[in-house]
Amino acid sequence: MSTTTPPKAIDGAIGYADERFAIAGFLRAKSKKVFGDHWSFMLGEIALYSFVILLLSGVFLTLWFKPSMSEVVYHGSYTKLNGVSVSEAYDSTLRISFDVRGGLLMRQIHHWAAVLFLASTMVHLLRIFFTGAYRKPREINWLIGIVMFTIAILEGLFGYSLPDDLLSGTGLRITQGVLQSIPLVGTYLFYFAFGDAFPGHDFIPRLYTIHVLLIPGLLLALVVAHLMIMWFQSHTQFPGKGRSNNTVTGKAFFPVFLIKTNAFMLFTFAVIAGLATFAQINPIWLFGPYTPDSITAGSQPDFYMGFLEGALRIMPNWETNLWGHTVSWNVMIPALVPLGLIMTGAAVWPFIEQWATGDRKIHNFADRPRNAPFRTAVGMTTVAFYGLLWLAGGNDIIADKFHVSLYATTWFFRFTIVIGPVIAFFVTKRICLGLQGKDADVLHHGVESGKIMRLPNGEFIEVHEPASEEEAAVLQGKDLLPAPELEEAEDENGVPAPSARGPLGKVRKNLNRAFAPDEVSVDGHGEGHHETGPHDDEQLASDGVETGGGKAISRH
């Protein structure tokens, strides 16, 4: 059955291309590449394929959408608005919804894809963070990811502002108010962005150019770079039997990964199409056209803007007037600080970790979150901070649903935004250490077998059996290399080196301690299990579970 030459048509095509671009050699090398398999790798794929949908459905929408704020009188299929003066943007969006076949479907597909794109990007970033997959050599791809995430939020905001309905117009009004509050240049930014007064006539056309050209172009370039780097460096892998830092275990790109990823793309498409069919999203005809003096109560932005909304809501009303100038802390802080903290923090994190631990090794293993308690705890702190702000963005809904006073919910969030993240930090750290202890326990004493034995004295005990090799390899798979020392931190007499003195050196030392894996010994387990575990024999060590990094470092 098997032959060595493909069908004529394919052979011909490859031959043609090969004689011009030497493609056979290229394809041969590429299609042999092995791809690891883990469900969490799919998060990035969902984002990628949602982006593809956004490009396709977005181009469809441009064929009818008119990015203009000129007033027209609506006469169309949505008879309730007949005779109402609306902008051309709003008018054309109604036409797409009711007069273009498949238009409503495409609009809803576009919007649902946007939601899915941002949601999957967020979860994808979290999984990269919590598994330490951003470590060398993948820091640049981490940065690209952060940039993509940031501009994707903007892209979403600009996109849902385009139809010029009451809900999105209110969002633009808030955007304008925030711009105006920026010290020194705020009013200039406002007038330059809007081309005169708010709402003016320039803003939606400008958003449109940015939404359909500038940001998608930028995103596309970044996506391509992201994928090329990912291909070159390969995925990280979780520890397991027979895995090492220098190998990838999995199946070849051609045919397995190729079919799999296409199937997954189609699943993503199907989910988005299904949502667009059955779950209404952004019914702008119910909101009505934008006017600056109308509003609907209980209105909510898209979910990815929720945390900014929450921050604006719970901020106390601080404002200072000095020397004839006004600084609106009540607007500036919530608008800039949470986003700035999270994004900048995420961007510099890999470098802080490197600096603090002195770890310049190549990491191809993904950490299990429990094995990096400090990182995991910082991550959960951020998640709590973001999550609480996000919830605060719906405080009116919470007050309504749970029949509590609106002001009580605001005060609740004003307190929890401070203490919630702190609690999250300590609880997470304890949980991680507990889980590590449990792992060490399994290695020491084996797993509960479910077999109950009765001892001669009548006591019942459960028989523990040693963990299987697979399991043991996973449990052992944490970075057991000695805690990376700061090379010149102390000399033999315990005198700190010059670089370790001074405030920066102290910070580094403290951070180093926070990152250090010997935290585990707090629980009496820690690295100790390595000596005594039932499976700590040559065999495991020679599996190369945790020895790989050494080779890479020798290159320096």
Partner: protein
């Protein structure tokens, strides 16, 4: 479609002590073959399939691919024949359902079919592949450094200071040009944020109808209405700064600030509707407490007490518009607002009024 664990390396006795898989850990290797695996072939190919099982998997995949084919036909039918044209809400809704279901099935059929294919009919085996080195060799780097140094020398840029410096000089302002070019994006703010369309004598007209309003007609206690300056009814830019909430408040409960004694007309008071937080319309009014609530971030203002802030992120009261009546009894503004309306800004400072 089942996971075929029975063929992995683990013998049945060992199997018993494999603890349950921990979430976040990879499955044990070798889950996809249908028959005991053979020795790995060259390049990792070579599971042998159980032909009977494979054929039934093939039939299931074929079923799903056919489903996609039929759904595509249905899609075209729904588009062109029935429900076909949209043009009212019922038809648009029906069209959305039919086209959407067809499209979902198109993707779903292909996706499921391909999944069955890759899980049950592809014989590629799992292999372990070396990662290639990420960095170049030391020799390569060395060689490149040398080459670079040599090229730099040859270019003359290192020795020729004048060339180098003027080149830097030439490129320095280039980055500014795009910024300069953006200058005409908008006019300078000047003092525009300090003024609205209101001035002495401007009639208050009802938002939406454009009708002027007599004080005697606005006499129901607890009444509230949005008004705009006459002549600005259709101008969104003016409405965005000049929209005003007109309230009919009980005179006896009104706490009138010094200097504002003649700003109201028998308990009829006018406050800017533009929230001083970030500019949403502060549109909700609670009649019993006389609180004005902005739905955006819930800033709450006391209408009886110069609209001062009693809760929420807004830092300043809603500015009050001084009003009176003209000779025909219509409500008019007696001046512009005495302070800028809407959100704060850097140049605002503390208003004198």
């Amino acid at each position: 479609m089942t996971d075929n664990n029975e063929n992995s390396d683990v013998t049945p006795e060992e199997e018993g002590r494999v603890p349950k898989r921990v979430i976040g850990t990879p499955p044990s290797v070798g889950t996809q073959e249908l028959l005991p695996r053979e020795e790995p072939g060259e390049g990792g190919s070579g599971y042998v399939l159980d032909e009977k099982k494979a054929r039934s998997a093939e039939r299931v995949a074929a079923f799903f691919f056919t489903l996609t084919f039929l759904a595509s036909i249905a899609f075209i039918f729904f588009y062109a024949v029935w429900p076909g044209h949209v043009g009212n809400i019922q038809r648009a809704t029906r069209s959305n359902y039919t086209l959407g279901i067809a499209l979902t099935l198109i993707f779903l059929g292909l996706a499921v079919g391909m999944t069955i294919w890759v899980r049950h009919l592809v014989t590629t085996k799992e292999i372990v592949q070396e990662r290639h080195a990420i960095s170049s060799t030391a020799e390569d780097r060395e060689a490149f450094n040398e080459f670079f140094q040599k090229g730099a020398q040859e270019s003359g840029l290192i020795q020729r200071k004048l060339l180098r410096r003027t080149l830097l000089l030439a490129s320095a302002p280039l980055g500014l040009l795009p910024l300069v070019l953006l200058r005409d994006l908008g006019p300078l703010p000047e003092k525009k944020l300090r003024h609205t369309k209101w001035k002495s004598g401007t009639r208050l007209v009802v938002d939406g109808t454009g009708q002027p309003l007599k004080a005697t007609d606005f006499n129901s206690p607890g009444g509230i209405i949005t008004v705009v300056p006459e002549g600005a009814e259709n101008n969104l830019d003016e409405i965005a700064t000049s929209a005003v909430l007109l309230l009919n408040l009980p005179v006896d409960q009104l706490k009138i600030k010094k200097g504002r004694e003649n700003w109201n007309v028998g308990g009829i008071v006018a406050y800017s509707k533009i929230c001083t937080h970030v500019g949403c319309p502060a549109a909700l009014y609670e009649q019993t407490t006389h609180h004005i609530l902005c739905p955006c971030h819930q800033s709450t203002f006391d209408a009886l007490d110069s609209a001062k802030v009693i809760f929420g992120p807004a830092a300043r009261p809603l500015p009050q518009l001084p009003i009176g009546v003209d000779s025909e009894g219509y409500l008019i503004a007696t001046s512009d607002f005495k302070e800028p309306v809407g959100p704060s800004f850097w140049e605002r400072g503390r208003p004198k009024a």
